[in-house]
Symmetry: D2
Subunit: 410 residues, 4 copies
C-alpha cells in the first residue's frame, strides 16, 4: 500500500498494515532460520523485526511519550543499526550470535511497541516521523527476503522459504526502444507524498537525446553472454570489475548452478524469458559493453518513468496474498522485477542537506562509493517505490534483486 | 559412567546412557541456540548431536547392516567432521548456516539411528567400534558445553545456559608438592579397558626427579599475576605468546570482566579460591615463568596420576543430575576442574601406528602444532578420562576448561 | 613544457625534454632507493623509468618499425602496467622484488629506445601516439615523486630526496569567493592540443549558481579542524569515511607528526599558511561539512578555470631547475600546489567511447569507484594540466599531493 | 672454522675470519639486491650485515667499553632483531624499506665496530660473549644466503647469485640402515667448546631400538612421490599439513619448476641423485608415511651423530673459496647438504634455564610451535655445527636448505 497517511485512523490503519506484513513475511521461518546471518551485508530476520520496532520505540515513543518505559534497557544496544548519534551499538557482523532474544520475544516486543504507539497517531507533528518509520520498515521487508534467500542458499539442503507459485515469464521478444529527445527536465521528488531526503531537492537536468530499452535483459540473453566468454574477456570489464571476477573465479550471476537458479522456493529450473537478476554493477556494465549499449543514468531512467504506475508488477502485497512472490517474471513497465543498475554514482543532489540529529543519518552519509538503482523489485512492498526513488548499493553487491535495462545514445 | 561394555545388554545399556546424556545437555537450548556457531573452532550444539549420530550411522549401521537405509542421502555431507576418507564434506566455518535441519529433526535422526543399532549390540566384533563411538560422543558432550558457553558469551545479554547451583570453592592454601624420585617408569595405556589409539603403545620413560603441585593455580593467584603486570612483561612470555598477547591486547583469561567471569550460569562474581580456567598454553607458560616454576611434562603428570580415581571431582554425571555443573570448584586430586596444560607437544608415542581407514584419522593426523593436556575438567563426562588420556589443543586455544598445575625440578 | 608537437624537429625536441626530466628526477636516488616499493599503490622509481620506456617500445617501435628488435624478451612482462590486451604481466605488488635489472641497466634501456625512436618523429600518423606517450610519461613523473616520498616516509631515518629550497607560503587571509551565476556552459576538452580521451566529448552542462573559494584550505585551518575534534565526530563523516578513520585510528593528514610534516626534503616544521595536502576524499568531505561548505563538482571547478593559465604556480620545470620543488606553497590561481578533490565520481562523459586496442585501456576501464580531482600539484610537470584535465583516485588514497578548495551554493 | 677462541690473538683472528666471510658473501650483491625483503621470514642482506654488527656494538662495545660512542643513535632501533629487553625496534616486515643506509654505509659501520673491538679480545670475561656473537653471525651467514635465494626466486628474470661450479651428485643407491640397539645414552652438549644454551643441559635419554638411513632422500625419490600423487592423497598428511597443501595448491618442493629447480646459480636442471631440499616438515612427514618409514627424533639423530666430523661435506668455507657452494650434492655422513627435519618439537631440555638479560632471549623464547632440525646444510659455515646443535623452524617453513633422512623402528 502506498503510505499516504491521514492523521488519526488512516495513519493507524496504515501502521498496522505495514507492521502485519513484516510478521507475515516471517511466518514461514523457524526461530533458528530467523537467527542466522550469512554474511556481514545481511541481517537475521529476527533482527529486522526488532530493528524496525526499535526505530518506532526510539524516535517516537522514547522521544515523544514522557511516560514510556523501554521494553528493555539492553535491547537498544542490540537493535540500533548505524545511528552514531544514538550511541554505541552491537557490531554488525555479530548479529548472527543473537539466539536470544527468541523470535517470540521479538514478537512480544513488536506487540508492546505497537500498542504503545496508539496515542501518537493523532498528533499531526508526528506524522512525518511515523511515515518515515513505515517506509523504513518497508525497506527492511525487502532486505528480510533477500537476506533469508542468501542464508538458505548457503545451506547445502537448499531449503525453500515458501513453495512459490506462479507460472513462467511471458516470451521476451527483441528489445524495443523508448526515445527521449533531450533538453531540460526536472528530476527529484516534488509535490506531496512521502519521499526520502535523498530524492530532493527537485532540480533541472540537461539531457542529450537517448533511448531506453522497453524491457530488462533476460536469462536467455545473459546465458548467451556467458556462452560467448563474457566472464573471460577482460576487455569488457571495468578494472575493478575484472579484479572482482578473477578474485573468486566468478562465471555467472549469484545463485546460478548449471541450468538452475536458487529462489525463495529453493533450487528451480531457470526461466529463460525471465529477467536476469542478482548481478553486480560490474556484471551489468560488462554485459552492456558486450551488447554494444550502455547503462542509463539515473536521470534518464527517472525522466522516462515519470507518470508511470510504480506498483504495476508489484508482487509483495497484503499479507494474505504474500505467498505469490518474490521472483522476477517479466513485468511490463519500467518498475517491477528487479532494481536496475544505473551508471550514476550515488551523490547528493544540488542543495541537498541532511536533517539534523540521528534521523539525518538515514541517507546522506552513504553518499560515496555506491551506485544508484532505479525502479523496484519483485520483493518491494506495494506502494514503496516511485520514479524519484534512489536505491543504492556497492558495485560488487548482488544479493538484492538487481537487474539491467539497456540504454543508448541517439 | 566408565564405558566397559559387555556384549549384549550391558553394551546396549551403556549406549543409551551416553546417548541420553547428550540429549539432556541440549535440553536447555532452543533451536536457535543449537544452531549458531560463534567461531570456527566451535560447532553448533545441533551439529554435535547429529555428528555423533552420523558416526554410528556410518561406521556401524552403513558398514555393518546390509539392510540399512540412510536417514538422508544429504546429511552425511553435512555431518562428517574431518574424515577425508569419507569424502567431501561441508566446510567447518559454514556449520552455523544450518538452520535446517531443525533441532527436532536431528532428534528424530538420533531416535532412528538408536533404534537401528539394536541388532548390533550382540555382535562381539563390533564392540570396539561401538565403544569408540561412545567415547567419541563423550568428547562431543564436553565440546557442546564449551561451545555453547562461547556462543552465549558473545551475546551482550549474557544468557545463562543453566542456573548453576553449587557453593564456593574451598579455601585454597599454599601449594603442597608431590615428589617423584626419578628413574624409569611406564606410561601409556596398558591392560584392558578402552583407550584411544594415541594413548599407546605403553612404553618406558626416563624421569629426572621432580615435584608436582597438589592443586591448580587459582583465580586469586592469577589476579596477582595480572596485577603484577604479567600481561605487559615480554620477558615472561614465549615469543609466539607475546605476539598473541599484543595482537589483541589481551590482559586476562577468556571470560574475565572486571571482578566477574562468564559461566554457563551467565556472568558471575569470580571465586578467588577456584582454579583459574580458560587460559591458553602461552598464558600458562608465562604464569609458570613468573611464579618461578614450570609446566609439567605429560609423562610427569601421568606417572603421578597412575592409580588415582579419574572420576573424583567429576561433575558431569547422569542426566538427572546434569544441572550441578560445569564450573571449576577446587577438587582434590589430580583430575577434575580443568584440563591441565603440559609442556609436551602432542606427538606419536614410539611405535604408534594409526589404524587403517577413516577411523585411523581419529587422532594421528593431528600430531603437529598442538600441546598435550592431562586430567579432565568439570565438563568431562564421568568415566571418560584416565591417567593415560591425552587431550590436545593448539597453544592459543582457551575456550575449553583449561588450567594450570605447576611443576619443578628436584 | 606544454606538449604541442610539430612533426619532425619540434616533436623530437619535446620528446627528449620530457625524457630528460624523468632522468633528472631519478638523479638523487641510489639503485636501492629506485628499487623499493612501499605499498601496492606505489611503484619503484626504476619501474617508472622502465614502464614509460616500454610504452614507446611497444606502441611505437614494435608496432611501427619492422626492423626493431626488443631490448629484452623478458622485460615487457615486467614493465607492462595494466594493459590486458598486451598479455600477462608481473603482479603489481611484486614490483619491489626487482633488484635486477639495475638502475643503470634501465638507463641503458632508455637510451636504446630513445635512439630507436629517431626515424619515427617524422611520421605524421604517429604524432598522436608519441604525444600520448609523452603525456603518459609526465603522469609517471608525478607518481615517481609521490612514490619515493612515500617510500622515504617509511624509513625511520626520514631521508631527504632533495634538500628543498624555497621560502614560506605567503600569509593566507580569509577566503574570498568567486561567484558563478549558473546556466548552461560547455565543459570537456575542445579545440586543438592534446587531451586524454576521458576529457571528452565536450558537452553542455547546466549549472545552479555557486561560488568557489579563491584559495585552498591551509594547514592552519586543518589544525583547527583537528583541534576541534574533527577526527572524532562521526556526524561529520561519510559512513565509509568514518570506517576508514576508525580502522587505523587516523587523526591527521598523511605525513603529519606533531608540528612537523614529512616532505621530499625530509621532516620539516609545518608551514601554517601553506595548503594542507595528502588528504583523502573522506577527509576533504568531512572538513567541508565541518566548515559549513561543500566540495565543488568537477564541472563547477572546470567552468571557473577555463581560460586560466594552468602552469602558473608550476614547480616542476626543466631539469636544471628541478630542485626547486615539490611542496605546496600557496599559489595564486586555481591550478598548482594540490590536486583538488571534487564531489564528482569519475564516470564517462556523455557519448564517451574508449579507443580500440590496448591504448583504449588507458582511462575508460577505471571509471568506477574513484573521484575526480582537478587542477595540478606542485609535482605536476609544466604543461601537463589544463582546465579539462580529469585526475582520479580512490577516496581513501592520499599519497598524492591532494588538497581541498571549498564551494558553496548561491 | 670451528670457533675455539683463545683470549687475545687467537680470538682476534677468528673474529676477523668470521667477519670477512660475511662480507665475502655479500660481494656478488648490488646495493639494491642487499635491500629487498621478499617475505617477512626473510631479511635483506644489508640488514644481516648490520644486525650482526649491532650485536657486537651493543653487547660488547656499549656494555663493556665506557668510552664507546654509538656509530649512530638511530641505528640500534633499525638493527635490533627481537630483543625485547633492548627496547622498541623497527617492525620486521618493514626491513625491506631501508634503502638507506646504503650497503657502503653498512660496510663502514662494520669497519668502525671491528676496529673498536680491538681492546676487548684480551679480556677473558668477554670471550663467551664474543664467541656468542661469532656463532650468531654464522647463523646469519646461512640466513643471508637462503634469504637472497628466496628474493632472487621471486624475480621473473631468475638472476644468479653466483655462477655455481661443482659437478653432479654421486649416484644414490638404495638406502642402507645404521642400527641402534636402544638403551640409555646421553644427549646434549657437554664438555668444552661453544654451544648455544638450548643444547643443554646434557642429560640421559632412553631409546628403543631403531635404525637411521645412511643418506638423505633424493630428488629422484621425491619425484616418485609426486608422480604417485603424494600431494593429492590426504591420508598421507598431517591435518595441518593437508590444509597447507590445499591452501596454495602446493605440489612440489619450493623452487621446483618442471624438471628444473631454482638455485643460487639461477634456474638449473634438477640433479636426480642430489638430496631433495626446501621441503616443509609437513612434506617430510608425508613422504615418510608414503615410504613406510618415519622421521627420526632429535635424540635418535644425535646419538648416531656423536663422534662424527660435523664439517665433512661443509661447503661454506673461507672467503677465497666461498664460490664453490651452496647446493646439496649428496655428502656422505650425517651432516651436510640439508638440515634434517626430526619428529621432535623444539622444547627445553630438562633443567634448562635461559640466561638473564637480553642475551637470554636468544633461544628459549622460541620454544613453542617449532620443530627441531639436526645436522647442517650446504650453506652452514665450517665449524658452526655439531651433534648437539638444535636448529628449529616452523613446520611450514621451507626456504632453508631443509631435507629428510628416514628412520624406522627395530
Amino acid at each position: 500500500m502506498r503510505i499516504e497517511p491521514v492523521v488519526g485512523a488512516g495513519l493507524r490503519e496504515q501502521f498496522h498494515e505495514v507492521r502485519r506484513l513484516s510478521e507475515a513475511l516471517v511466518a514461514p521461518l523457524s526461530d533458528a532460520d530467523a537467527t542466522i546471518q550469512s554474511m556481514t551485508d545481511a541481517s537475521p530476520a529476527k533482527w529486522h523485526l526488532a530493528h524496525t520496532t526499535w526505530f518506532f520505540e526510539t524516535f517516537l515513543l522514547r522521544d515523544h511519550r514522557d511516560d514510556y518505559q523501554l521494553f528493555s534497557d539492553d535491547w537498544p544496544f542490540l537493535f540500533n543499526s548505524y545511528y552514531e548519534a544514538e550511541g554505541p551499538r552491537h557490531a554488525r557482523p555479530e548479529r548472527g550470535m543473537l539466539s536470544r532474544p527468541s523470535l517470540d520475544e521479538v514478537r512480544d516486543y513488536r506487540a508492546r511497541v505497537d500498542a504503545a504507539m496508539e496515542p501518537l497517531f493523532g498528533r499531526p507533528e508526528l506524522v512525518g516521523l511515523i511515515e518515515l518509520g513505515l517506509n523504513h520498515e518497508q525497506q527492511h521487508q525487502e532486505l528480510l527476503l533477500t537476506d533469508i534467500k542468501h542464508a538458505f542458499s548457503r545451506n547445502p539442503l537448499g531449503p525453500a522459504y515458501r513453495e512459490a507459485g506462479g507460472g513462467a515469464a511471458p516470451s521476451a521478444d527483441g528489445i524495443g526502444w523508448r526515445e527521449h529527445p533531450g533538453g531540460i527536465a526536472q528530476v527529484g521528488h516534488g509535490g506531496n507524498g512521502f519521499a526520502f531526503d535523498n530524492e530532493g531537492p527537485r532540480h533541472r537536468v540537461l539531457f542529450e537525446p537517448f533511448a531506453l530499452a522497453d524491457r530488462l535483459v533476460t536469462n536467455r540473453e545473459w546465458a548467451d553472454f556467458v556462452e560467448d566468454g563474457g566472464y573471460r574477456a577482460a576487455s569488457l570489464w571495468l578494472s575493478d570489475g575484472w579484479s572482482w571476477v578473477k578474485q573468486d573465479s566468478r562465471e555467472a550471476p549469484l545463485y546460478w548452478r548449471d541450468d538452475e537458479e536458487f529462489t525463495l522456493g529453493g533450487w528451480r529450473s531457470r526461466d529463460d524469458d525471465a529477467p536476469v537478476t542478482h548481478i553486480s554493477y560490474y556484471e551489468a556494465d560488462a554485459y552492456a559493453t558486450w551488447a554494444g549499449y550502455r547503462l542509463p543514468t539515473e536521470h534518464e531512467w527517472e525522466v522516462m518513468a515519470q507518470g508511470e504506475d510504480a506498483d504495476e508488477g508489484c508482487q509483495l502485497d497484503d499479507p494474505e496474498e504474500a505467498d505469490s512472490f518474490a521472483h522476477p517474471r517479466g513485468s511490463a513497465g519500467l518498475f517491477g522485477d528487479c532494481w536496475q543498475w544505473t551508471r550514476s554514482a550515488y551523490l547528493p543532489y544540488p542543495r541537498f542537506r541532511a536533517a539534523d540529529g540521528a534521523v539525518g543519518e538515514y541517507n546522506g552519509k552513504f553518499m560515496s562509493g555506491q551506485s544508484v538503482l532505479k525502479g523496484a523489485s519483485c520483493a518491494t512492498p506495494r506502494g514503496h517505490s516511485r520514479a524519484s526513488y534512489r536505491n543504492f548499493f556497492y558495485p560488487q553487491q548482488r544479493w538484492q534483486f538487481t537487474g539491467l535495462r539497456l540504454a543508448r545514445d541517439l
